[in-house]
Structure formats: C-alpha cells, structure tokens
C-alpha cells in the first residue's frame, strides 16, 4: 500500500481511473480552467500541425513544438491536480514533489529533443530548399503566440514557475537583459518594466513569433525561402538555450546532487558541527534536494569515545535542522566495545548549565580537566574555539539576574522532563546579554520564563 506506481496504475484500470479523475477534475474550479485551456491547446496544436504541413514551413513547425511543450506542461499540471485531489497527499508528499521534478525534466528534455530533430531537418533542407507557402504562416504564428501567452499567463504551473526562477539564466534572457539595460540607460523610465528577470517562456514565445514574422516578410518580398530554414534553426537554438538551464537544474535534483547555492551555508554548518565538543570528524556527508527546495541529507559523525552520543546527536541535529529538513545522523565511535567511563549512566538531570549554549558565539568556561564529570558533560565546544567576544562568566552579568515579567501564557512544559532550572536561567542571562540574536532568543526567553515558575 505504501508504494504507488504512477505509470502502471494508469495502465491497470485506465478507463475507470480516467473517468473518475475526470469527475474529480471537473469538480474543482481551478482544474476545470486548466482542463479548458488544455482542450484549447490541443485544438490549437492540431490546427497548427495542419498548417505546418500545408505551408511546408520548418520554422512554423519549430514554433508549434513550443505549443506542444505548453500542452505538456498543462497536461502534467492536470495530472498533478488529480493526484493531489485523490491520492493522499500526506503519505506521498515527498514522492509527489519528486514527480514534479521528473515532469519538468522530462518535458524540457522532450522539447529539446524536438529542437534537435528540427535542427536535423533544417540541415537536410539546406541541401535542398523546398518552396514555402506563406498563406497560413502569419495566421498560424499569431494564433500560436496568442494561445501560448494566454495559457502561460492565465494558468500558473507551480513547478515550472519555480524552475524558471531558480535555474540559471538562459542566453536569451542574458541578451535581453543586456539590451534592456542599455535601453534603460537611454530611457530610465522603463527600468521597472525591463530590468526584472524576464519570464523565459514569454521571452521565447515572443522571440519566435518575431523571427517568424521576419521570415514571412522576407519570403513575401523577396522569395528567400532559405530564411524559413534559417529561422527554424534560430528557433531551435532558442529552444535549446531556454530549456537547457531548466533541464540542468531539474536533472541535478534528480541526480541527488547537493545544490550549489547551499554549499556555502552547509559548509559553515558542518564546520560548526565539527567544532562541537566530542566530535572528531564529520564524514560521508550527503545532501540532496527531494523536491524543489526541500533538502534532505545524511551524515556520519565520528565522536570521541567518552562523549555522550545522544547529546552530540541532539546538537548536530539542532545545527543542521535549520537547513536540512530530513536528516539522518549516524554517530560513530571507534573502539566502543571497551566500556567507556560512565557516559551511559549519566543522568540527564546532572547536566551542566552550559550544555545548552546552542549559539556559536557562546563561549565556554575555562576547561577543567581534573574534574571527570565536567569533562564529560561540559560545553559542547572545544576549548580551541575562537576567542570570546564576551564572557558570560564575568561577574557583572551574573550579579543582576533579570527577572522577566511573565508576559507569556503558562506553557504546558510538564512532559516529565527532569531538567534543572539552571541551564535555562544561565541561558537567559546569556541571551539577555546579547540582545537581537534572532528568533531563537525569543523562544529561549519564553522557556526561561516558564521554567522557574514550574519548579
């Protein structure tokens, strides 16, 4: 029951599913609209294909492929709506996200292969250029442009919007951005219109229509039939240029790669993790995106023999949790068969104040190697961490413990946790000494305020 087979399932009871899904789709208004647009698109594509064969124009065929691509993305979004509607989202949500990525990848690759086909045909046409009839050329162009823009602007396809924003710019976008920047140098008023990043789909539609109109003009005026082939090549190259970054982006997601834009952040977090007390090294770190945007990962952490595993695990998870939502941390200990001192027997209630100093700029008290317990449970930071920005052990900060007004409602923090109050009060002090550290502090404050009143 846990697995779905998106392809096989449609094979099994195809018509029954289809009618059921159709009913489901028509019940929803949004998907109804998508369905109408898909129908329109199918109709338009059929017309265009007929006109393509009647005009014998390669460029129009290339442009039709864009329409087919639109149709693909529409159809995919319809399928998604169906899936959302009647497959339980909570169970398959991750897989569903993944399916979106696959859909984007497949449709961009398909349209690129279509463009490749166009290029091949164009090369053949350069050898022998057939006559091109211009009768329906312009009509077809404008019909296709109109429908494409209509569907693009009225039906928002979430994954495609995301990819087109997240992927690197295509060369078409770059050139348009460059041109519009120099245009804005002349007419500054246009900057709000031209300077933001262009939607690549709109761009390629408009550019293709433009080149088709030029083709029409040249064929009408001078009977240069070779222009048709040239503009087909141009449209094919534009399709390549536009779709390539998107397919690279989604392909990288499919290949389970670490997205390059989070590598800097990840490295920082991993460095922090490796400076935690007890951590010897971090290895086998794998991070990947499950769907668009949600990061998953697994990491192996080797720790000292006498370190508390659960403590380190909690700290590592806490660090990485901000960035990586689905995380698995495996803790390694070398030579664990030799019983370590008393790490396992250590009750949670004896935790020292400094255990929860979760902030990286937090400074440890001077290490006392003579005390056994203190070494085990001391701050998770190594003594070799960077020099302190401030020291919370300075008397001035401890002399006046701030009493918080109990503004927040009493929290049900019962849970049978036998935490001493001291960790949180010390934390409170520290946090108060460093205001403006972000959201986490507010949380800590609330906690600190709650705890003493409980006990």
């Amino acid at each position: 029951q846990g697995t779905i087979h998106p392809f096989r399932k449609t094979h099994r009871s195809f018509f029954g599913k289809l009618s059921q899904e159709f009913r489901l789709v028509t019940s929803d208004r949004q998907s109804w609209r998508i369905l109408v647009f898909s129908m329109l698109n199918v109709f338009c594509t059929g017309c265009l294909l007929m006109w393509c064969s009647s005009t014998n124009s390669m460029a129009l065929t290339a442009y039709t492929y864009l329409t087919i691509f639109d149709l693909f993305s529409r159809v995919f979004s319809v399928i998604f709506v169906c899936l959302i509607a009647h497959v339980c989202v909570c169970v398959f949500s991750t897989r569903f996200k993944r399916l979106e990525v696959l859909a984007v990848f497949a449709s961009t690759v398909l349209v690129q292969l279509g463009a490749l086909f166009i290029l091949k045909e164009s090369v053949e046409r350069f050898v022998e250029q057939p006559e091109v009839h211009t009768g329906r050329l312009l009509v077809g162009t404008f019909v296709a442009l109109f429908f494409n823009l209509l569907t693009l602007l009225s039906v928002k396809n979430k994954p495609f919007v995301y990819v087109s924003e997240a992927a690197s710019t295509s060369w078409l976008q770059e050139h348009v951005a460059d041109l519009s920047r120099s245009l804005c140098g002349i007419i500054p008023g246009l900057s709000s219109v031209l300077l933001p990043r262009m939607n690549p789909f709109v761009l390629i539609n408009v550019a293709g229509a433009l080149s088709l109109s030029i083709t029409y003009m040249l064929i009408e005026i001078n009977n240069y039939n070779a222009v048709d082939t040239a503009s087909a090549v141009a449209i094919g190259l534009m399709i390549f240029g536009t779709m390539y970054p998107m397919s690279v982006y989604s392909g990288k997601v499919l290949l389970q790669t670490t997205p390059s834009h989070v590598i800097g952040q990840l490295d920082k977090l991993l460095r922090e993790v490796s400076t935690l007390e007890g951590v010897l090294e971090v290895r086998n770190e794998h991070f990947w995106t499950v769907g668009f945007g949600s990061l998953a990962g697994s990491v192996h952490v080797r720790i000292r023999r006498d370190a508390n595993e659960q403590m380190v695990l909690a700290h590592v998870t806490n660090r990485l949790f901000t960035l990586v939502s689905t995380l698995t941390v495996q803790i390694f200990k070398d030579d664990w068969i030799r019983p370590s001192l008393m790490a396992e027997a250590l009750p949670a209630s004896t935790l020292r104040p400094s255990d929860y100093g979760g902030l990286s700029s937090f400074v440890p008290p001077p290490p006392k190697p003579s005390e056994d317990i203190n070494r085990l449970t001391s701050t998770p930071f190594k003594p070799s961490s960077p020099p302190p920005e401030f020291s919370f052990n300075t008397p001035g900060r401890h002399v006046h413990p701030v009493v918080l007004p109990n503004t927040q409602p009493q929290r049900p923090y019962g849970m049978g946790l036998s935490y001493g109050a001291s960790p949180y009060t010390s934390m409170l002090n520290q946090d108060l000494a460093r205001p403006g550290m972000g959201i986490g502090i507010g949380m800590n404050l609330g906690m600190g305020a709650g705890m003493p009143s409980l006990q």
């Binding site: 697995t3 050898v127 804005c184 192996h300 695990l313 909690a314 495996q330 803790i331």
Partner: protein
Amino acid sequence: MDDKYSSNVLSSGQLGMVEVPNARLTRYIVLLLVSKVLKALGIFESYDLLKVVHIVQFIFILKLGCAVILVFFQKPFSSGKAISKRQWIKLLKHSVISCIISLLGFFGLTLCGPLRTLLLFEHSDVVVIALLSVLFTSSGGGPSKTRGAALFIIAVICLLLFDNDDLMAKMAEHPEGHHDSALTHALYTAIAFLGVADHKGGVVLLVVSLCLKIGFHTASRKLSVEIGGAKRLYALDNLVSCIVLLPWVIVVQSSWSALILPFGMIIFSVMILEFYVESICIAKMEAPRCARYGSIFLFLSGLLLANFWTHPLTEQLRTMSKTPQQESTETEHVLSGGVLVSAIFFIMADSILSSPSKKGQKGTLVGYSPEGTPLYNFMGDALQHTSQSLPRFIKDSLKQILEEYDSRQIFYFLCLNLAFTFVELFYGVWTNSLGLISDGFHMLFDCSALVLGLFAALMTRWKATRIYSYGYGRVEILSGFINGLFLMVIAFFVFVESVTRLVDPPNINTDMLTPVSVGGLLVNLVGICAFSHAHSHGAAKSNCSSHDHGHSHGHGSHGHSHGSSHGHSHGGGMNANMRGVFLHVLADTLGSVGVIISTILIRQFGWLIADPICSLFISTLIFLSVIPLLTDAAEVLLLRTPPEHEKDLNIALEKIEKVEGVLSYRDPHFWRHSASVIAGTIHLQLMSDVVEQRIIQQVTAILKDAGVNNLSVQVEKEAYFQHMSGLTTGFHDVLAMTQQMESMNYLKDGTCIM
C-alpha cells in the same frame, strides 16, 4: 541602474576607464573622417584601375610610390640604428607575406567590387580580435560581445546568401577564357573548384585574407619594435616588397604611364594618408574608439560612393586599353538589399565589438571593507587555468573509454556507425542522391544517442565530488531516461510521418533503398551482438515486451540473448544506460528490417501502402519497448524503494524490530542510487540502557544482507528527545517531539518512499 548590485566591478563610473570627452577630440575625428572618405574613394578608383592594369603591376606601383614617399619622409637609412643581416631576412619574410596579403585583398576587390571589399576587408584589429576571442575562447566578454559576433557572422552570411548581384551570375561563367597571369588563373580555378559563384568566392577570400591580415599585424609587432618603430618598418617593408615584386613586373609588361594621376591619388589616400592618420588617432584617442569611428565612416562613405560613383575613369580607360573589349558585360557591382542590410549589420557589429569591454571580471563577493565598499575576489579569472592540449586530451579520454567494457563497446559501435554514415554521405554526395544524404543525416542524428550513452558511461566513473556526493553513478540512469525519451520522440515522428503517408502514399524509388538498408541492418546486427551481452547482464527483466515483439517480428538473431537473460537479471545491477543504447540499436534494426520488408512488398506486389504500415508498426514497437525502460529509470529517479529488494527489505525491517533494545523505527528510506549503490536511511528508537554502537552494527549487518550498502542509522534514545526539546524549545516542536516519543510504539509501514 542595478550595476551597484551586480558582481560587475568596473562598470560603475568612478572605477572604470575615464573616457575623454568627444569635444576635445573633434579635430582628430574630423581628420579620421576625411582620411576614411579618401580611402573609400581610393578603393573605388583602384577597382576601376584594376580592370586594365594587371594586379601584380598594380600592387608594385602602389608599393613603389609609397616607398619613394616614405623613404623621403621617414629616412629609414639615415636615421635610427643600423639594421642587421638577420633583421633584413626577417624584413624580407615580412614583406613577402604582406605582398601576398595585399595581393589577396586586391584580388578580392576585383571579384566582388569595392563596396563589398570595404565591408569585409577593412576591419580594424580590435574588432577582429574581439570577434575571434568570442568565437574561440570561453571568456568572450559578456553577452554584448556575443551579440556583436553574431551580427558580424550574420552580415557575412547576408553577403554570401542574400546578395544576388546580377553581374556575378554572368561572371561565374568565366567569359574571359584567358586570364592575365598564371596567378589569377590559379585563384580563379581554386574558387571555381569550391563550386560557388565568383563573388561568393571573393567574399570567402576576403574573409580569409582579413584573418590573415590581422594575424600578420599581430605577428609583426615584435619586428616593428626591433626595427625601431612602425613607421620605419612600414617604409622599409614597402621598399623591400617593391624589390620582391620587381622580377614579376618585368615579365608582365603593360603600359600604365597614362595613369599617373589616379595612381598618385590612390597611393596618397590608401597607402599614406590613412596610415599616418590612423597612427595619430590611435595615439590621441584610444584604439577602440578610433576603430569604431573609422569603420563607421568608412562603411558609410563606401555606401554613399556605391550609390553615386559614376566610374569617371571607365571611359578614359576604355579608350586607352589596347584591346577594345566587346564590353557587353558592363560589369558593375550594384547596390542590392542584401549588401545594404549587411552593411548596417557590419556597422553595428563593429561598434559593439570595438567598444571597450564594460564587463569587468566576474568577482565573487568576499565581504565589505571598513568604508563599506564591497570587496571582490578575482581568483577564478585572474589565474586562468591553462587549457589542455588537444591531442593529449583525446588520448586521455580514449584511454579512459577503452578501459571499461561498456564504454568500449559503445565506442567501437559508434565508430562503426560513424564510418557507415560517412560512407553513405560521401556516396550520396558523389551520386547526388538526396535520399542517401538524408539517410546519412538521420544516422548522425541517431549517433547522438550513442554519444550521449558513451559520455554517460565515461562520467559514471568520475570520482565523487562535493556536489555529487554519492559519485556520478546516477548519470547512467539519467542518460538511460533521456535515451528513452529520445526513442519516444523518434517513435512519435515516425508515427506522424507514417500517418500522413497512409493518407497519401507517395511513390518511392526503391532502387537505392535496399543496399542502404541491408548495410544498416548489418551494422546494427553487429551492434546488437555487441550489446546483447551487456544487456543480458543488466536488468533484462522488464524487457520481456521488447523481446516478445522481437520474436514475433522474426529476427531471431538476438533471440537467444533474451532467452538466457531472464535467469539472472536480479543478480546484477541494472544499467539503464546500456539498456537505452541497446534499445536504440534495436529500434534502428527494426527500421532497416521494416524498410527491407516494405521494399520487397512494393517491388513484388506494388503495394505502396506497405511502407507507411510498416513504419506505423515499427513506431508502435519502439514505443512499447521503451516504456519499461522509462518506468524503471523513472522509479529510480523518483527514489522509489527498489522493487527487487522490497521483500528482503521488509523482512529485514521485521528483523530489526526484533533486535534486543530496539523500541521502534521510523522514516525508513531505501532507494537505488545507481547500478551498484543502494542507499538507505533509518531512524531507530532504543531503550535507554543499550549501547548504541552495537545496535548500529547489528542493523547495518541486517540491512547489508538485504542489499543496502550505503546506510545511515540514526539512533535515538529518550535522552535525545529531551536534549532536543531543550535545544529547540519551541512549544510546537516540543509537542511534536512528545508525540513522536509516544508514537514510538507504532508499527510503521515499512516501504515508505522518500
């Protein structure tokens, strides 16, 4: 503008180069304008002169006159240091090359007229170097330069394709029959060999000689320093070239004494004035701006002259030329639309390409200085990594390819396929058969799938990097998926084509088809034999459909491989890449078989409809055989639990539950990462008094038996949740944690997918 925020450092006004305002340079610009107009005039005139005067003689006279004037002005012998013998030899080489280049240039002038020569040949070094750097290096300097280069190329193509100069068609027939000299004759025959009209040959010749000229200028810079200044070099060069050309001129005797005046004008405007003005302007303005203005002036004046030039010399020349030519071919190069368009493009391209590159180096932002200005790091571009030499690169990659079985197979088959394709293409060109050529292109199109497969097989062995943390094994699956999509596209096109043919079956010429398709069949059979081994090793499990169809279709040559493949398909990892390649070859084979069958049917019975029906059938077959590959690859890409391991994994999970000390597990994710790697993550909840490492070891061993070889186990005890609640301290988090702790006893469904 958003320059402030981009990573473009040098573009903001204060930091970039300081441009001299135009007002101060007006004098020089006017000077440049005058010299360019005169030069255009000179070129037009020399075109007229070249109709009567032999080209070598013409160049000789130019060089001679130039040398006389320059020796008079520059005094290369009396001033400066003496020139050594080695330098004389260098000078000789230099002048020989310069003679050749000017010969080519003026020959191009005779071929395609003054205006086109101006447009093609008279670009400054800056422009051409920018163009070449865009074309041949990766760091071209931003999109604007790319645009400029594209404009330049479009302009040249415009001249080549859309410039239907009526006169050229006439000249292409070579009405003159005799040529003045062996040299021109050789050039003419070379151009005729290329199979293009004379004027197009001239365009090609001019472009080539432009590149030569630029290379020559760049190379001669060193010599000019050695000799002592560009002007001295120029003077000496002219002198030496005179001497070089002298013997030739003596052989070619003709009178030109009546033409002193036009020659003087040409020498003055083309050779001397332009040289001096250019050098002054480059000194006063910077070179890019000089190039921009110069080319704009030159092209505009060329356009104007082409419109209004009435060939004042022509009458005079005709009277003086000894052989009164019949001159029905009043050969004047007209101003056509194509030339106009390309002139506009050339002007735009030149102004873009010669503009100083605004785009600074791309730097990465490293931080902010104390004053608040951003600091950039230029490491990447500043230290340009040296490019590998090409032969070495080829050798290395060949070695890599041949190392492993899969890639070796693909490579050999690719070579075979390419050889067949090129034979087909050459034969097609030889016999002028369009069908063969088109089939050859189709084969090339197919080869791209093989190249993709080869590349993927090569990439699979790359080392894991920071980004590809599991290694590149997955590329193979992705490439299999893409190949599957490729086949779908092919099947779709064949389907559409055959449907249209079904409606209106065309008459097919079957003579050529049979040998070609038999050849293709043979090649593909070799491929099938080569790949069937790998294929049977891979997961042939889901290939049943293709196998069945293959049998029913009746080529049993590869049936045996399928028959044997069912047994051990579970054992080896699946190699989607090889499967994709195999299916591709299979599809090709089907295509050739279909062609053979339909040819036989058409020949024997005259059923024209057999061809579309055959291709319809084949496309359906391809489609059906691709579906399993696509679904399998998609399942892997979707991180699904591998179906062949599903049962084992369920058993393993049950075992894990029974391990002593384990309370429960959650989030078990297992997926196939690549052919050899099955990765997994699992979270375990333990009782608080067991040793974690022991459990980890046990669980790893259990899952390893189930096939998971890249595992991460997160072991959680109650203490962990307490720590976490202490750390995260958000109320909702705590609540969620508690719920998780309570639900630890739940048995979860084991085969959840990530």
